[in-house]
């Protein structure tokens, strides 16, 4: 038990990086800009998103109240959170149960499989509480405030919310342990990452489709229909996953016996599922874990392959290596591909499903606004790919090679820049194609869209490069940390939005001053080109110096 408690303590510490943060931020007083930037990012993005979500929740509350079921917003939020936790928790649990870097160190220790698996489960559960906070927090607040609930409600809500990840994660955990016993998923780690990414994209498309189908100005009517159809769609969904109903009643009916009974059932089932998962761990965890790792194919190099070897210059060799690494690292390629597809899919769905509902018709929008909006999308799409602000970070512990090969930092940077441009332009093609289709492939829209879009990419790509060159995140154990856990990405998006916002402001002012579209295009193009050139010069100057300075 002592060992288990020590393991849990270390797992919690390691998960949040408390020791590291205490050492870096408090003791050494280093990198203090990181928490400040994070706070800035939250303050910039959270209010807007929360406002929209709370607005939707209020509409649901009103419609639910008409049907005497205002607690429907709790069911809705709990269902959404639990669905996401079940779906993505499954992949996450596979990742932490079977692919964590610390497993080879933990398994030989005198710890039970339940203790190891339990600590990993706790780690995922703590992170999933963030999902609960995002989805259920605002819903619980809206319900509590609008129904005038008392202190008992808030206590019940807190307890219920804290336990919310247990049921979906325990179900996912049991499935994971069973699956790993039956098939050797360890050999298909990359495939799993890709499948998880595709599911994420599919969920995005479905949400986008449903949102697009919601008629403008008649959201309330649409939601009412959604709630009342077949005795309430969400109620029906809730019946298929009763924990969401138990949790709803535990919160909404906290003051009566029926509510308390449901609370007891909710806690009981949570604990029972947790116990089942730990039992499965006891019996099956090590069998799946020790079933063997990735194995080599053992295909012999042929004489022909040796003979047909082709030498290339250092720059093309670096470009090729960058492409191979991007293509073969699932986290990188998924980010790249999803960024390439999100805008075209979003635009396509909006155009195809709402063309009859949107208040303004595309054909009535002035051509220059269509071109400028398209260019903005291409430029912003490039930022979303997160390739430039991770240019050095993605090297990780291979960075030493950059320092020892006889290729000048300037040439290495040039090669990396070329590859990023190739990847960005290639990934911009779907957006360009959809924009072209929407604009009827008119030359007067297509040409300024593409030219200004590419000119927009010029400063944004260089901005990302500069940020990563200044502070690369080289110490990571999982490529995910180089991209998703990299503050440079957040900073790049924030500064990128500022640049794009500045461009929008300038364009509006120019049109207000009576400039012609052609003149505005030229002014904007010139501004972006100059800004891009300045940032490019900074990348070359600072980058060359930084590549010599960075030590690891």
């Amino acid at each position: 038990m002592k060992g288990t408690m020590a393991l849990l303590k270390v797992a919690v510490n390691n998960n949040f990086g408390w020791s590291w943060m205490r050492e870096t931020y408090l003791r050494r007083k280093q990198r203090l800009w990181e928490p400040l930037l994070l706070l800035f990012g939250i303050l910039v993005s959270a209010p807007g998103l929360t406002y929209v979500y709370v607005k939707v929740l209020n509409i649901f509350y009103d419609q639910g109240a008409v049907l005497h079921q205002p607690q429907i917003i709790l069911t809705l939020a709990i269902l959404a959170a639990q669905f996401i936790m079940l779906l993505f928790g499954f992949f996450w649990l596979i990742s932490v149960f079977y692919f964590s870097n610390d497993l080879p160190r933990l398994v030989p220790l005198p710890l039970t499989p339940q203790a190891i698996l339990g600590s990993k489960f706790l780690q995922v559960m703590m992170n999933e509480l963030l999902t609960v906070l995002i989805f259920v927090g605002p819903a619980a607040a809206v319900y509590g405030v609008r129904s005038g609930a008392g202190a008992g409600y808030w206590i019940a809500a807190l307890l219920t919310a804290f336990l919310l990840p247990v049921i979906p994660l325990a179900i996912a955990g049991v499935l994971t342990v069973l699956l790993m016993r039956v098939i050797n998923v360890r050999r298909s780690r990359d495939l799993l990452t890709v499948i998880a990414g595709i599911i994420g994209l599919a969920v995005f498309i479905v949400i986008q489709y449903l949102t697009a189908r919601m008629p403008d100005g008649r959201e309330a009517e649409y939601l009412s229909k959604l709630l009342s159809t077949q005795n309430g769609l969400i109620e029906a969904l809730g019946r298929r996953f009763p924990p969401s109903i138990w949790a709803t009643n535990a919160m909404a009916h906290y003051h009566n016996a029926a509510g308390l009974a449901q609370f007891a059932v909710y806690i009981g089932v949570s604990l029972a599922l947790l116990a089942t998962m730990l039992l499965a761990a006891k019996i099956l965890f090590y069998d799946g874990l020790l079933a063997g790792g990735a194995s080599a194919r053992k295909v012999r190099l042929t004489a022909l392959e040796i003979k047909s070897v082709q030498a290339r210059g250092a720059i093309p060799a670096i470009i090729k290596r960058e492409w191979l690494t991007l293509r073969r690292t699932p986290v990188f390629v998924l980010q790249w591909l999803t960024s390439a597809l999100v805008f075209p899919i979003m635009l396509g769905i909006l155009y195809l499903t709402k063309s009859s509902n949107i208040p303004i018709k595309i054909s009535e929008v002035p051509v220059h606004w269509l071109a400028l909006a398209g260019a903005g999308l291409i430029a912003f799409g490039g930022t979303m790919m997160q390739l430039a602000p991770t240019i050095i970070s993605r090297e990780g512990n291979n960075f030493w090679l950059i320092k020892v090969i006889p290729v000048s930092p300037a040439d290495q940077l040039r090669a990396k820049q070329v590859q990023i441009w190739e990847a960005t332009l290639l990934a911009s093609l779907p957006t360009m194609a959809v924009l072209g289709y929407i604009g009827g492939f008119k030359v007067e829209i297509l040409i300024p869209t593409i030219v200004l879009g590419i000119l927009g990419l010029y400063p944004l790509i260089n901005l990302g490069l500069l940020l990563d060159l200044l502070r690369p995140k080289l110490h990571w154990t999982n490529p995910q940390q180089a991209m998703k856990g990299n503050l440079n990405v957040l900073a790049d998006m924030a500064f990128g939005l500022i640049i794009l916002g500045g461009c929008v402001f300038m364009v509006i002012k120019c049109f207000q001053a009576g400039w012609t579209a052609l003149l505005v295009y030229a002014a904007l193009g010139l501004l972006l080109a100059v800004l891009g050139y300045l940032l490019d010069a900074a990348v070359r100057r600072v980058g060359t110096k930084r590549l010599r300075e960075i030590e690891m």
Binding site: V299, R300, A311, P316, A317, R321, W400, S408, E549
Partner: protein
């Protein structure tokens, strides 16, 4: 000639002195062993030698090239194997070797000949088409050694090169080191295996706390104490002071 001149490096704003005014000269044809306890400054010295770390003071000369001024010319002459064989794990061994050959400007004919020879020596022909992420530690080390030698460098700088090698590969590699130095070239390597250093090295240097505590041939080191003294005894005596 490989020269380390008054080389110093400290960490944490000077609080920790990793290497302190180190002077060494390695002559052509020498296998030079660099020894020291954990944290003595061996890896830091080697990293400065290959251009991975910038010295606070002093300079590194490779042939006549100053690493601080003519780094590209100096790097072209070096074949380096780091203490941890971190390779691009999303590249196959073959792709990795060709990448290294490309950046070092190795022509096609030389590349074919050397790769065939080295892959056969380390018995990597069956693994080289797999992603390096599937390699064992020993295979990664063999690939790192192959990559370090593909451009036939004059200076081999190797940080713990025997780690992870099986006895056969280790034996063959030691023979390769001898052959390389017999051609008038240089091998500079760090190791914890004192028997290897004792049998293989023409000269050894012992570093402790960032400072050079001894340097010379085995006979020169023994002349400090008893004639029969092993390198292990000398090492322990010098590093426990």
């Amino acid at each position: 000639m490989l020269v380390l001149e008054n080389l110093s490096k400290s960490y944490q704003k000077g609080a920790v002195k990793a290497v302190d005014a180190l002077n060494l000269t390695v002559k052509p044809g020498e296998i030079f062993g660099f020894l020291g306890p954990n944290g003595a400054g061996k890896t830091t010295t080697i990293k400065m030698l290959v251009g991975l770390l910038k010295p606070d003071n002093g300079r590194v000369l490779i042939k006549d090239y100053d690493m601080a001024k003519d780094d590209l010319a100096a790097k072209r002459l070096i074949g380096y194997v780091p203490d941890e064989p971190n390779l691009y794990d999303r590249l196959t061994g073959w792709e990795y070797l060709n990448f290294i050959a490309d950046v070092f400007g190795v022509g096609e004919a030389d590349r074919r000949r050397r790769l065939e020879e080295l892959l056969s020596l380390f018995e990597l022909e069956n693994a080289v088409k797999d992603l390096t992420q599937s390699y064992s530690y020993g295979m990664k080390q063999k690939l790192a050694l192959t990559a370090a030698l593909v451009h036939a460098p004059d200076f081999w700088v190797l940080d713990e090169p025997m780690t992870g090698l099986d006895p056969k590969s280790s034996h063959l590699f030691k023979e390769l080191m001898r052959k390389h130095c017999d051609e008038g070239k240089i091998v500079f390597f760090s190791t914890h295996i004192l028997e290897v250093a004792e049998r293989l090295c023409d000269r050894v240097a012992i570093i402790n706390g960032g400072k050079l505590v001894a340097c010379g041939t085995m006979d020169e080191l023994r002349s400090r104490g008893s004639e029969q003294e092993s390198l292990e005894s000398i090492f322990l005596e010098l590093t426990e002071k």
